[in-house]
Amino acid sequence: MKLAFQLAYKNLVGAGLRSWLNVGILAFTFIVIIFFNAYLDGWNLQAQRESIKWEYGHGQLRHQDYDPLDPFSINEAHGKLNTPLSENLTAVLIQQASLYPEGRMVSILMKGIDSDQKILELPTEAFAKSDANIPALIGKRMASSNKLEVGDQLLLRWRDKNGTFDATEITIIEIFETDVTSVDAGQIWIPIERLWNMTGLKGEATYFIASEKYSHSPVDKWYYKSQAELLKQLQEIIEMKSASSSILYFLLLGIALLAIFDTQVLSIFRRQKEIGTYIALGMTRWQVVQLFTVEGSMYSILASIVGTIIGIPIFWYFSTYGIGMPDYVTQQDMGVTIAQRIYPAFTIGLIMGTIALVVLSATIVSFIPSRNIAKMDPVDALKGKVQ
C-alpha cells in the first residue's frame, strides 16, 4: 500500500494541471461542505443556547390545556399545582390583552413571571427596582414594532377571571435584547403577583419553568416537557434546513467526483501501455488496480490538505466575526431563533467527517473504472489495444 501511495503521488504530481484542477474543485467542495455545515451547526448551537437561556430553562411543566400554538385556548389554560411549589420551578401565567400604543390597538400576550426568578435571562430583577404601578419588560422587537421606549406609559386592557374588561396604564421599565423572538414579539412581561391581582387568578400558572435541579415526577393535570423535547422542534427545523442545503453540496461533490471519474476513465484508456509495463515489471493486476484507485483517492487527500490550508483563514475569520443576518430575518418572528450574527461552529468532528466523506466517495469513484484493469489483457495493454 505504501508503494501505491508513493507511486500515486508521483503520478499525480507528474500529471500537472489536470491533477490540480481536480484537486481544486474538490478542495472548493470540501470548504463549502464544511462551511455550510458549520454555519448550520453554529446557528443550531446558538439558537439552542439562547432558547434555553431565554425561554425553555431546563424544561417546562405545562398545564394540560396549554398549547403554545393555539391562541384560542391560552386564556383558559391555567391552574394551580396540587403539590407545594418547588423552589426549582418558576411560574409563568399567560393572558391575552390589548395594548394601545399611540392610540392604536395591538393584541398581545401578557406574561406574568416571578421577579426573583434566576432561571431565565429576562431582567426581572428590574421589577423590584421600579415604583411604577405595573412595570413591564418588553423586547427590542416589540419596542421597535410599536415605537416604544423605556419610560413610556400606555394603556393595557384585559379580561379578569370572570370575563370582565379592565384597563390600566403600564410603564415600560426596560427593553431587553434577545435572539429568541418567542419571548419578545407581541408580548409584555410583568410581575406575576400583579397579574394575579389583575386577573384574580391568585397562585395560578400556565406553565412552570424548571431549573437545573428540578427532578420531575408526574403531576395530575400537568405535563412535563424536558429541555430535549422543547429543543426538538428547533432541531427539526434546522435539520430540515440542513437537508435542503445538503442538496447544494452533494451537487458540488457530485461534480467533483464526476471530474475524478472522468479523469480515471481517460487515464486508464490513455495509460494502457503504462499499465502493461507495470504488469510486465512484476505488479499484479490488483496492485495496478490499487495504484489507480489510490491515485484517484489521492485527489481527495490533496484536496483535504489544500482545502484545510485555504479554509483555515476563512473558517477562522467567520468563526471570530460571524455572519451578519439581515434585519428582516432577525426582527420578525420567523418561528425559529436566529441570532443577528451567526458564528459557524467548525468542530474537529465536522472537519474529520467531511474529510472521510470526500476521501471515501473519491475512492469509490476511482475504484469503479480502475477495477476494469483487472480484466485487462497485459499483452493488449502493452500494445495499447484495449478498447
Binding site: 503504462e274 504488469i279 510486465a280 512484476g282 499483452v379
Partner: protein, 235 residues
C-alpha cells in the same frame, strides 16, 4: 543440464472474426541458461507471441511453457507476477518508460516491488546505470532522453534486479545503426559478465550478427534453429 526455458508443443490461437488465427503451431524449443538467442521472422510470424508466453504475459492455447521450472500455463496471476518480478526482465521496442518518473526512478521501480531497502535500491540502480553508461543523468525525465538513452534506461531497468532471463522485443527497431550496435553490445557484455539469458525477437540484421543462436519462425512454426557460435553457458 536442465533448460532454463522449455517450450513443449505450444500452440497459440487468437479469435479472428468468426474463426481463429493460429499464431504459434506446435512449437518445441529449449533454451539453456546464459544463451544470447534471437527469434527472427517476418511480421506476424509469432515472435512476440512466443516472447509473451515465455514472459508469462500470455498463456498458450495448448502445450506447456516451462520457465525456470514453472509452467506458465498453470501459474495464477499472482505467481506469474512474482516470476516476472524476480526472474524476468523486459525490454520493449518503444522503451515503455514511465513518463512521470526520472531515469533513476524508472530503474528503481522493479526494486520497489521487491521491497528492497532504500540503500540497496540506490546501490543497485547506480550499478545498473553504470552498466549502460547513464550514471551521470539519473535525474533526467524520459521526455528529455534521446532514443538510444531511453533504450539504455530500459536495459538498466530490466537488468537492475539481475534477472535470470531478459526478453527483448525488437529492442533496436526505433534506433539508428550506431545506437543499435551500442545497445546490443551493452546487452552482449551483460550476458557475458552476468550470465543472464537474453532472448530477442527481431528482424534486425544488426542484432542477428551478435546472436549465438537464431530461431527462424515462419507462419507460427519453427523453420530453422541455427546455432551460430558456441553457447556461453554460465555453469
Amino acid at each position: 543440464m536442465e533448460p532454463i526455458i522449455k517450450i513443449e508443443n505450444v500452440t497459440k490461437k487468437f479469435p479472428e472474426g468468426e474463426g481463429e488465427f493460429v499464431a504459434l503451431k506446435n512449437i518445441n524449443l529449449e533454451f539453456q541458461e546464459g544463451e544470447f538467442s534471437g527469434i527472427v521472422g517476418p511480421s506476424g510470424s509469432g515472435k512476440t507471441t512466443l516472447l509473451n508466453i515465455i514472459g508469462s504475459l500470455d498463456q498458450p492455447s495448448s502445450g506447456n511453457a516451462w520457465v525456470m521450472d514453472k509452467n506458465v500455463a498453470e501459474l495464477s496471476h499472482k505467481e506469474s507476477a512474482q516470476l516476472r518480478n524476480l526472474h524476468l526482465g523486459f525490454i520493449f521496442q518503444v522503451y515503455n518508460l514511465l513518463p512521470v518518473y526520472t531515469v533513476f526512478e524508472n530503474v528503481e521501480f522493479a526494486l520497489l516491488l521487491q521491497n528492497k531497502s532504500k540503500e540497496e535500491r540506490r546501490k543497485a540502480v547506480m550499478q545498473a546505470l553504470e552498466w549502460v553508461g547513464l550514471e551521470n543523468i539519473p535525474n533526467k525525465k524520459p521526455s528529455k532522453l534521446s532514443g538510444g538513452e531511453g533504450q539504455r534506461v530500459a536495459i538498466a531497468r530490466a537488468m537492475v534486479k539481475e534477472p535470470k532471463i531478459v526478453l527483448a522485443d525488437e529492442p533496436t527497431a526505433n534506433l539508428d545503426a550506431t545506437n543499435a550496435h551500442a545497445i546490443i553490445q551493452t546487452m552482449k557484455k551483460l550476458n557475458e559478465e552476468l550470465g543472464t539469458t537474453f532472448l530477442f525477437s527481431t528482424h534486425d540484421e544488426k542484432v542477428m550478427q551478435y546472436l549465438n543462436r537464431i530461431i527462424h519462425l515462419k507462419g507460427g512454426e519453427v523453420e530453422k534453429d541455427e546455432i551460430i557460435t558456441a553457447q556461453n553457458p554460465k555453469s
